[in-house]
């Protein structure tokens, strides 16, 4: 026997054994993962992380609605040339409000 073809043909004939039917169940039972499952899937870090993500999404959605509401409400007052200027002014005002509200409430000079 010398050819590659015969070698690989014989290799394929070597039986590929299968695990016993209860193999997975035995591993799962002995691994300790079921104890973790009873304790709950999420750890404290994961729970805190998902709460922060939810709050961030809500806040972002609120900001977007504010911007849309302001621009829609003023479309009939301003021409398209002035719209971009108005948007920049609005963003400027919003950032000032943010600073006053969340960063330095005592900074009345930014008004």
């Amino acid at each position: 026997m010398g050819s590659n073809k015969q070698y690989f043909k014989l290799l394929k004939e070597i039986p590929f054994e299968k695990c016993p039917d209860d193999f997975t169940a035995r591993v799962v039972n002995h691994s300790g993962i079921l104890d973790k499952k009873e304790a709950g899937y999420n750890t404290g870090t994961q729970r805190n992380g998902s709460s922060f993500y939810s709050i961030a999404c809500i806040f972002t959605a609120f900001l977007i609605l504010l911007v849309i509401n302001y621009n829609v409400g003023n479309l009939n007052k301003y021409s398209t040339d002035m719209l971009s200027t108005n948007t920049i002014a609005f963003a400027n005002q919003l950032s000032k409000s943010f600073i006053i509200t969340f960063v330095s409430p005592e900074r009345n000079d930014v008004k």
Binding site: M1, G2, N4, Y7, F8, L10, L11, E13, I14, P15, F16, E17, K18, C19, P20, F23, T24, R26, V27, V28, H30, S31, G32, I33, L34, K36, K37, A39, G40, Y41, N42, T43, Q46
Partner: protein, 182 residues
Amino acid sequence: MRLLDMVTANRIQGGDVDAFEKLIEGHKNRVFNYCLRVVGNYHTAEELSQEIFIKVYRSIESYDWRKASLSTWIYSISRHTCLNCLRDEKFHQTELIKEDFEDTNISLEGQYIIKEDWTQLARAINSLKLEDREIVIMKDYLGFKYGEIGLITGLPPGTVKSRLHGIRMRLKKILGDQNGLK
């Protein structure tokens, strides 16, 4: 695929039993056959396979998806586990010869001939030194890629390829000599 591995690992780490079961189902037979062909004993291979997946679960936090796929990582653990078994235990390798054929479509004479041929090859593989045996099992029997074998064994893929070529030559010579004696 690596991102999927990362997600799977995170889910298992979080205690997701379904994810762990899917992982086991996807790899158990190959892991078992790897152990079987390396250690050469059916019951030991079964115990080692269980031990491997338990180790996979208990060390899942150490899996780094950027370095290797989950599959490669599992087989690295399999390799170390089998090597430790062979080194630590007074272990007698028994030959793996399938006594019974369930396929009744093959005639008795045909079954005898088939049994003889692959048994010779299995014996020849068993006669190789461990480092060579695991390479031929991973590449020719289980179908791993050279890169994967390199990551698992710590050898460059080029070295794996050249070693495998030499191993195949030796196996063919062994089988040729055995056939010549008949």
